[in-house]
Amino acid sequence: MSKFVSLSALVLILTGCGSPDGSTWLIKTSSDVISVAEVGAIWNELDQDTKIRFLSANNPVGDFITALGRKTMITTEMDNDSCLYSPMIQDMKECWIINSAFIACIDTLSASTRRNLTEPDLSNYRKLLGSVVWYSSETSGSKGPERLPDLPWALAFAFDSMATGTSVEIEGITYTLDSTVTSPREMIDETIADSARFNDFARTSLVESRVNRYLLSLKTEVLDTFTADTATVSAYCSQRESLDNSAELASWRYGSINAGEFDGIAAFVSLGQPGNEHSLEWVLHSLRNQARLTYIADLYAAEFPEEFSSFEAGAEAFAVDQASELLFKTNVTDVVQITDSMVYEAYIQMDSIPLLPETRVFESVMVPGNIVDDAIVLLDNDNALLELGYTGYTKFLRSGNEFLSRAVYPSELPYEMDLTLFLLEEGDTQWQKPVETEECLFVFYRLVEIIPPHAASFEQMEASIARNLQIHLEEQRTMEWMCELEAKHQFQVNHGILSDLPADPANWSEL
């Protein structure tokens, strides 16, 4: 610890009188040497937010050098620990590449479709605007409603001149027009009259419908051969720990996904949206979707190999970021364990117990807009509102109680309710006029209890103490971990040259 403290307390006063050579080492570990010029170059490549982060500290240059040295050790740790190359991180990296390729594929298709649009396309769209059709064919069954001008031109113009219930053969397939709806002519003419906006809309509509049609055909192609092993997927959902990583969950003509790979897919998907690995439906959907994305990404890779390989750098940076978070979790977050006795100990050791402001308890009933008028007439009828069959204001309900709130502060309450509730006198238990807290949801409420300012009880402080204790101990553990790494990697800073360097590290790269 003392070694760390001496390092972190280091005040680097840089006077800039007589500069060392740029190739002089500034940071050294058992596996890396970083020169003054290299440190300067790294500083110059930082984004503005990161620079400001360091510049706003008391010792910007010292903090930057220390953090850079630690990053170097963490990077070595990630390689040595095989954390970066663990199957989970590598599978997440693969997902990153697949998503990138999928997005690039859509962008490329959209750009080329837009580029290939012709004046006749816009003219055709103009002629067919205003109609929506339902149709059927032997190959695709019933379809619609679809915009008529979004269909392939041969089919669209055929439908435009047909009566409903009649059929036409296009490229060997028989299509029947089941129904059609057309907007009034004057409305169509008015829309077309704004030619700039109409052209914009028509171009976007044609591009999106053509790209979507193509993507749907690819999805159909891959899902036609897709098979999930439902028993194995069920086992994955309910007993993941007893399932081998190599157990195959799903396969299709061009690939397969096993349990270990799906761990990475699920972790990646859950970065941006809710997920549930215990839900059979969610896992099956995610498997099918991953097959679709993978297939389209593979097609893109085959068509645009150079663009595809350019995703590697971004994917590597993503993997490093994820691996470093995993390393931090293993070495810090999982190590820090807060117990009830630690939290209580912190509470009783407080020099003074904080005074909490006044809170109030209220009773409420939350009713939908369509019965609010009926409820208002019950305002003077003591308990009648409670018997309407609705519960209280959900957000503030006391645990296990239908109507009674927990103690609330005024700033927690919605507009109007805060003022009214906190102006009421003790003993005024009249129901108050309702507040529309969310659209079409009205809260009727009345005061139950005023809790004056008081010293916080342990129960009131517990969550706050535990949260602060966790942050404090994580910081402490991070410092210990850095000390362990400094010893392990023989971390050194070339203190002797610091006072001879220019004050601004932006100038070091030129030395």
């Binding site: 998503n99 859950s270 979707n289 020099d351 916080a456 969550a463």
Partner: protein, 276 residues
Amino acid sequence: MKFFALVLVMAVAAFAMTDAAPEAGISQPEVDDWMDEIAYFDLEGGGIPNAYTVGCGWDGVNFWITNGAGQAGASTGMFYIFDHAGILLDSFPQNGAPGWGLRDLCCDGVYMYGSVSSAIDYYDISTNVKVGAFTGPISPNRAMAFDGTCFYTSSFSTDVYQLTWDGVSGSTAANTVWSTAATSAYGAAWDAIGDCLWVTSANSTGIIDQIAADGSLIEHHTVISGATWGGATMALTVPINELFCLEQGSPDCMHGYDVTPVSLERDTWGSIKSLF
């Protein structure tokens, strides 16, 4: 430990000098794993002057947030434009949308669509001007999503409608009941990467429904217990697929994924991570 106790006392004392609610003694909502990763920005603290914010859409660069300023006495609702980091960039009135104003929004790359009645208004995203409207199946068409070909809408029932609009201003969109798997819908977002529709619930359950492209339910996700959701939108800026949901809460806020790791907020580790 004495040091920690001192810090804690100072933190609590600081609360008393601000208008912020003290955290001590206030129960926190339950959260799932997704919420551990979220970006969060406070729309009221970020510049919206009242608590009537309801919907959101993504124009490819920025969020459009709808606010029912009419509920607060104004003659029309408002649009507020926020960037991806939650910085307020601009605001302008909705075109005479009273009360709660336009609800949830969706975008097709040319127009932003939203509804205050059975009409679905559309605004040019390059000029912010209302261009026209077409009629949808419900009033208002609260939840709005667009998959590149069709619109989806729903409201405080379970039915989700799929709409095909012919592109003519003033026309009525053809519609079918596409799914009955939603839970009291307020917002919706089509997820092109996930090949599904996300539907947020306004019934104080905190549910977000995930519905497959064939209309079948994939999963009811309970994200924040007791929360009342407003609109929803995808906001794709990186290969990670981002779902953002507006919470009609205290305060109104946006929840979503943020590429900036939470760990950056930690002192020592944050300094190191900022260099990766």
